[in-house]
C-alpha cells in the first residue's frame, strides 16, 4: 500500500480509531493525545505539531524554518497566518507567523520566516537554537488576509521588510497554479542584503512573463527609488486601480499605501495584514489608563489600576474566584496580549499568550483577556 509510505498517511488512516468514542472512554480523563505524545511527539489525534526539518538564515536578522507538520495540519490559504509555539527554558511561547511557501507544495512542508526581534524571547531563541529535529506546536491557519478562491485577474502585492512572507506565499502559489493575469510585486527593504527571498523572486520574475518585480532599497539601488508615494505607484503600476491589492509591512509604509487607496475610494480592493500588533507596553508604564479588553464578553474598560479581578467585576463580569489572594488559582484566565504585574512581588509578565491569576494581577498598559 503506497499510501502508507509516509508516517503522515499512516496516521491519517488511524485517525478515525484514535478519535473514536471508545478510545476517549478508555483514556478518560486525560484523552488519547496525552498517551500518544509519550510514544512520538508528532503523534496526535487532535493537536497539530511539527518537526523542524531545515533551518536557514537568509539575512542577518531573520531565520527561516521548514516544518513538517503532522497529519492534523489542514493546510492554509496563501496569506493566512498560524501560531507557532516553542518551549524555552520550560515555558511555552507562542507567536504568529505567515507561511511563505506555496499552498501547493507537494511534500506538505510549511516554511516560516521570522524576523528577529532583539527583545523577543521567541525569535531570539529561534535565531540561537532552532535546529533540524526540533518539535514545535502549531495552530491551524487563520485570518482573512488570503487569496480568494476565485483568483482575481490583476494582482498587486506590496510588502515591506518581513511583511514579505504572506505575499511571497501568494506569489509562489499563483505561479504554481499557472496564473495568467499580471502580477506586480512591490517590495521595500533596507538593502539588498536585508531582503528575503531575493534569488527566488528574481527567478520567478525571469520565468513568468506576467510577473513584474519592483524593489526599492533604502540603501543601494533597486528597480525603484525611495519610499512609497503616489508618484512612484503611478509609474510602477499605473493600472493599480484595476488590481486587487494585498499589503503587508511596517506601519508607516502601510499607512502611506492606505492613504492613496482611501483617497481614490478603492478601500474595497485593498487587503491588508497588520504585522506589528499594538506595541507592547514598556515595563515602566503606569497601571492605569490602559485598555482592558474582555474578548468573550465583548467588553471594554479603561484600567483604573486595580487588580484585573476587581476591574472585571466592576465591568459587570463574574469571573471565577476563590481566595482572592493568589493561592487557589480559581481565577486563572488566559491573557492573549499585554503585560500584567503580579502585585505580590512586582514581577512583570511577558506580553504573549499565557494564563494569569486575575486576583493578583494589575494591567500594565493595555491587556486582552479571554473572559
Amino acid at each position: 500500500m503506497p499510501a502508507f509510505a509516509t508516517p503522515q498517511n499512516a496516521q491519517r488512516r488511524l485517525q478515525p480509531i484514535l478519535r473514536s468514542k471508545l478510545i476517549a472512554r478508555l483514556t478518560t480523563p486525560h484523552g488519547v493525545d496525552r498517551y500518544l505524545e509519550q510514544i512520538d511527539p508528532l503523534w496526535s489525534a487532535f493537536e497539530t505539531r511539527a518537526r523542524v526539518t531545515e533551518v536557514t538564515r537568509q539575512t542577518a536578522d531573520t531565520v527561516t524554518l521548514r516544518l513538517q507538520p503532522n497529519a492534523n495540519w489542514q493546510g492554509f490559504v496563501p496569506g493566512q497566518y498560524l501560531q507557532l509555539s516553542v518551549d524555552i527554558d520550560g515555558r511555552r511561547y507562542t507567536r504568529c507567523f505567515s507561511p511563505a511557501n506555496s499552498c501547493h507544495a507537494k511534500d506538505g512542508h510549511i516554511e516560516l520566516t521570522a524576523r528577529i526581534n532583539p527583545e523577543g524571547t521567541l525569535t531570539r531563541h529561534l535565531r540561537d537554537h532552532a535546529h533540524a529535529g526540533m518539535i514545535v506546536g502549531l495552530s491551524q491557519a487563520a485570518g482573512d488576509f488570503a487569496l480568494p478562491a476565485q483568483r482575481p485577474e490583476r494582482i498587486l502585492l506590496i510588502s515591506g521588510g518581513s511583511g514579505i512572507t504572506p505575499v511571497m506565499s501568494m506569489l509562489r502559489s499563483l505561479c504554481d497554479e499557472g496564473h495568467r493575469g499580471p502580477i506586480t510585486f512591490l517590495h521595500y527593504a533596507r538593502s539588498k542584503e536585508d531582503q528575503l527571498y531575493t534569488e527566488e523572486l528574481e527567478q520567478l520574475a525571469a520565468r513568468h512573463a506576467n510577473v513584474t518585480l519592483l524593489r526599492s532599497y533604502e540603501q543601494g539601488a533597486g528597480e525603484l527609488y525611495g519610499r512609497f508615494s503616489r508618484e512612484q505607484l503611478e509609474s510602477a503600476a499605473p493600472d493599480y486601480a484595476d488590481a486587487t491589492t494585498f499589503l503587508c509591512g511596517p506601519p508607516p509604509m502601510m499607512a502611506a499605501v492606505e492613504a492613496v487607496w482611501a483617497a481614490d475610494g478603492l478601500n474595497a480592493q485593498l487587503h491588508r495584514e497588520r504585522f506589528v500588533v499594538a506595541a507592547s507596553a514598556p515595563a515602566t508604564a503606569e497601571t492605569t489608563g490602559g485598555e482592558l479588553r474582555f474578548v468573550r464578553s465583548e467588553r471594554l474598560a479603561v484600567s483604573d489600576g486595580a487588580t484585573l479581578l476587581e476591574q472585571a467585576e466592576a465591568a459587570g463580569l463574574r469571573p471565577d474566584y476563590g481566595c482572592r489572594m493568589g493561592i487557589c488559582h480559581a481565577c486563572s484566565c488566559r491573557k492573549t496580549t499585554g503585560r500584567v504585574r503580579d502585585i505580590r512581588d512586582g514581577r512583570l509578565s511577558g506580553d504573549g499568550e499565557e494564563d494569569i491569576q486575575l486576583c493578583v494581577s494589575q494591567p500594565v498598559g493595555s491587556v486582552t483577556l479571554e473572559l
Binding site: L26, G90, R92, C328, R334, D345
Partner: protein, 369 residues
C-alpha cells in the same frame, strides 16, 4: 496557649517577609529543570498505567499489573494531578500541565476539587467550620467540633473513608451530613447537586469496572478485581498521606475568628501550625506527591512540589528563629499520632466549645459554633 499569642505584630511581619523571600527565590529559578521533572513523572505514570493494564489481563502477571496500576494512579493523583491543579506548573503555559485544563484519574472532578481543596482547604486551613477537610463531615477531628453520638464510630468510619476515599472526595461538596444527620438539606437539593459530580464519576466507574474488564474478554473478572484493588490501594495511601499532613496530635485547629484581618505573616503561621510533615525515602516523597512536605506545601501551595525538599531547611530555620513548631516524624509515627487523635475524638472532650447553639442551621454554622 498557642504560639500565636506569644508573637508580636513585628514578628509576624518579619516571618511574612522571610517566607515571601523563599517563595520569590524559587519563582525566579523556575525553568526547564521543573518542566523536565513533571514531564518525566508523567511519562513514568503513563508507562505504569499502560503496562499495568496490560499485565492485569494475563494471569501470571496479574499481581504485578495491580502493583503497576496502583502506582500509576497514585502518581496521577498525587505528584501530577494534585500539584498541577494547584497551578504549580501554570507558568509553563502548556495546557497539558495547566490548572485550567488538567483533570485527574479519580472520581472527583477537577472543577469541584479546585473549589473544596484549593480554595476552601488552602485558604481556611484547619479552620473548623470553613475547612471541610477537617473530618470530611464524617469524622470528628477537633475538640472544637461538638461531640455527637455518631462519633463513637470515628475509628471504623475513618477506615471506611480510607477505603473509599476517591468517592468520598468526589461527593465532598454535597456535605452529605447536612442531609443525613442535620436534615438541613432536602433530597431534591441533593439530587440537583449530585448531577455534575455523577458526570465525572460515571466515566471513571465505566472505565475501570466495565470497559477495561470487557476488553479482557473471558478474563474480565480478573481485570475487574484488579481495578478494585488498584483503586483501593490508591485510596488508602492518598487518605493516609492527607491525614498525616493535618491530623497528628500536635497540629492545631483554629476558630473562625482567626481569619479576620489576618496578615500575610499570620496566614503563613496558621498554615505552619495546621500542617505536619513526615520523613521517608525519595520514593516516598514522590509517591506522596511531596505532601510529605505538607508544611512547605501549605506555605507555598503553588510552587512546584519537587522543590519542597530543597526549601525545607530554610523553612525550618525560620521556625527555629521564631520558636515556631515544625511538626515532623517518620510516616509511622505520624500515622500513629493521627489515629490516636481519631480515637480520642470519638469520645466527648473534657474541654467543651463555648456556647454551642442548640439547633445549628447548616454544617458550617454548626461547626463554626
Amino acid at each position: 496557649m498557642s504560639i500565636y499569642d506569644t508573637l508580636s505584630p513585628k514578628d509576624f511581619e518579619a516571618i511574612g517577609a522571610e517566607f515571601d523571600a523563599i517563595r520569590e527565590d524559587v519563582l525566579a529559578d523556575l525553568g526547564s529543570r521543573d518542566a523536565d521533572y513533571i514531564r518525566g513523572i508523567i511519562k513514568r505514570q503513563r508507562q505504569l498505567e499502560i503496562g499495568g493494564r496490560a499485565m492485569m489481563m494475563l494471569p501470571p502477571t496479574w499481581l504485578a499489573g495491580i502493583g503497576a496500576l496502583s502506582a500509576s494512579k497514585i502518581l496521577d493523583n498525587m505528584e501530577i494531578g494534585h500539584n498541577i491543579m494547584h497551578g504549580q506548573y501554570d507558568w509553563m503555559n502548556d495546557p497539558a500541565v495547566s490548572s485550567r485544563h488538567f483533570d485527574w484519574d479519580t472520581a472527583n472532578s477537577a472543577e469541584q476539587w479546585k473549589r473544596t481543596h484549593n480554595y476552601e482547604h488552602h485558604t481556611f486551613t484547619n479552620v473548623v467550620g470553613r475547612d471541610h477537610d477537617v473530618g470530611y463531615g464524617l469524622l470528628r477531628m477537633s475538640e472544637d467540633q461538638p461531640w455527637e453520638p455518631r462519633f463513637l464510630f470515628n475509628a471504623p468510619l475513618a477506615v471506611i473513608l480510607h477505603l473509599f476515599f476517591q468517592h468520598f472526595v468526589a461527593i465532598q461538596n454535597l456535605k452529605l451530613e447536612d442531609y443525613l444527620v442535620y436534615k438541613t438539606k432536602t433530597r431534591a437539593e441533593l439530587r440537583e447537586e449530585f448531577r455534575p459530580m455523577w458526570k465525572k464519576m460515571r466515566k471513571q466507574l465505566a472505565k475501570d469496572y466495565a470497559l477495561f474488564p470487557a476488553l479482557a474478554g473471558p478474563l474480565a473478572p480478573l481485570v475487574f478485581v484488579g481495578n478494585v484493588a488498584a483503586n483501593a490501594t490508591r485510596n488508602v495511601w492518598a487518605c493516609a498521606v492527607i491525614f498525616n499532613g493535618h491530623f497528628p496530635e500536635q497540629v492545631e485547629q483554629f476558630d473562625e475568628s482567626v481569619v479576620d484581618n489576618e496578615t500575610r505573616g499570620h496566614w503563613y503561621v496558621r498554615q505552619l501550625l495546621g500542617s505536619a510533615n513526615f520523613e521517608g525515602s525519595k520514593l516516598m516523597h514522590i509517591m506522596s506527591g511531596n505532601l510529605s512536605h505538607q508544611i512547605e506545601h501549605h506555605l507555598f501551595p503553588d510552587l512546584p512540589a519537587h522543590r519542597y525538599a530543597e526549601i525545607a531547611p530554610r523553612v525550618r530555620a525560620v521556625c527555629e528563629q521564631y520558636g515556631l513548631p515544625y511538626n515532623t516524624g517518620s510516616f509511622w509515627k505520624q500515622t500513629a499520632s493521627t489515629w490516636k487523635r481519631i480515637l480520642r475524638m470519638s469520645l466527648p472532650s473534657k474541654r467543651q466549645p463555648e456556647a454551642a447553639p442548640q439547633q445549628p442551621a447548616t454544617t458550617e454554622a454548626r461547626l463554626a459554633a
